[in-house]
Symmetry: C2
DNA sequence: ATTATTGGATAGTACAGCTAGCCAATCACT
DNA sequence: AGTGATTGGCTAGCTGTACTATCCAATAAT
């Protein structure tokens, strides 16, 4: 398969494929001569994965590179690959060195995690992300305690336990299992987010009774 | 309150406040002379709201402007304001005019919504977003039927019904209620997303047993 | 009277994610 | 063998987003 066919098969324009090659997202094809390289099914799969992480997961290119490096590193355990994906998903949060409100939000976060009995790395960036959410809620005068978030936490855990673990194909190759894990993390997150907004719209339609809900673009 | 005090009170740098004024995100202060304007508590609140939508909700400036315009339009019902926020949250999805796989994903979406009995505007962008998620899952060979997403849908609906409706202060002014509605949409979405990733990490730690889950930055 | 601050305007920056153009080598076809 | 198209590799340019920086004249504070 040459680059033009790879482009046709994946729907990704040739210049973009070249860009991904330069950026190290896509492994080089097998060189058959100075001006020819052969790409395979694996490249098509990899491109699909890249586009999923980019378009659905909204990960920046640099983060995708790290995730893919972890996927490809055969020495990494499932848990570490998942951790890498989580790192990639967590946005950089500027540090608040001496901000008291920040520390309060952060300890509220740690308390909630402890109460739930969850096993979370002490320095996981996800902790900071949750603290940022709690801080934002409290600044805006909305309920921002761990208690208020507990129903979300419990629902999240139930979904993860009952519907995400089951879909990981442990019986296939490591690469397939690890890819499914990473994609699942990212895409199921968006699925849940979209469904929640749909549930909101439906509830709002019933509560407020409007039939047309289409603001101008 | 002068601009420097507004900056100090909100933590937003003066040039950025000027930028938000130019972009129409922040209403102008009350002019007291040619080179002086007075800002109030409302401006501080508005800045907090902007930062919440920007940093937690990750909405682009242009989308925030639309949402705020809807919040400020007293003639709009709750339902329409929420609809505007949903429009703002949904990313532009390129249209797939004659893509058969796309149409299949789209009808799978519509089928799921119909089966759930949800009231969703036929042209809501959220439908396209869900179709994109389903399409991505199916392309990657993961379960992508409406059935597979049903548990997510049901959990989402339960959370919305039992924990989001209740936190909206209908007893206060319209502006407060509407702001809480918009913020809740955006911030609770992120809260749920973060908690889901935490639940994943905890589950992964138990399943795969590792104690250190900190990949290199 | 002097120094600082303000609003208003214009221009510049930094980053992300492509996109375009060029070139010599080489391939496919006649 | 000749001819046009394609390829990989390279460098440069483009578009959009969210700010920053600078300048200025008017005014306020001391």
């Amino acid at each position: 398969m040459r680059i033009s066919q790879l482009s046709a098969a994946s729907g990704v324009p040739i210049p973009t494929i070249k860009y991904y090659l330069r950026e190290g997202l896509l492994p080089a094809g097998e060189q058959t001569s100075a001006t020819r390289a052969e790409y395979g099914e694996r490249h098509v799969r990899r491109l699909r994965l890249i586009r999923a992480l980019l378009e659905v997961g909204r990960l920046p290119i640099a983060a995708i590179r790290k995730v893919l490096a972890a996927v490809d590193d055969e020495t990494l355990s499932m848990h570490l690959v998942l951790g890498t994906a989580h790192y990639a998903l967590a946005p950089e949060i500027e540090s608040h060195p001496d901000d008291e409100a920040w520390h309060e939000a952060r300890s509220e976060t740690d308390r909630l995690i402890a109460e739930l009995g969850w096993r979370i790395a002490p320095r996981a960036p996800t902790r900071d992300e949750l603290a940022q959410v709690i801080l934002t809620l409290s600044r805006l005068g909305l309920p921002a305690t761990g208690e208020a978030l507990r129903p979300y936490a419990e629902a999240a855990m139930e979904l993860v336990m009952e519907h995400e673990i089951g879909t990981i194909p442990f019986d296939r190759t490591r690469e397939e299992a690890v890819e499914a894990l990473v994609v699942g993390t990212v895409v199921h997150g968006r699925a849940l987010d979209v469904l929640r907004r749909l549930a909101q719209e439906s509830t709002s339609a019933q509560l407020f009774g409007a039939s047309a809900a289409s603001p101008e673009e």
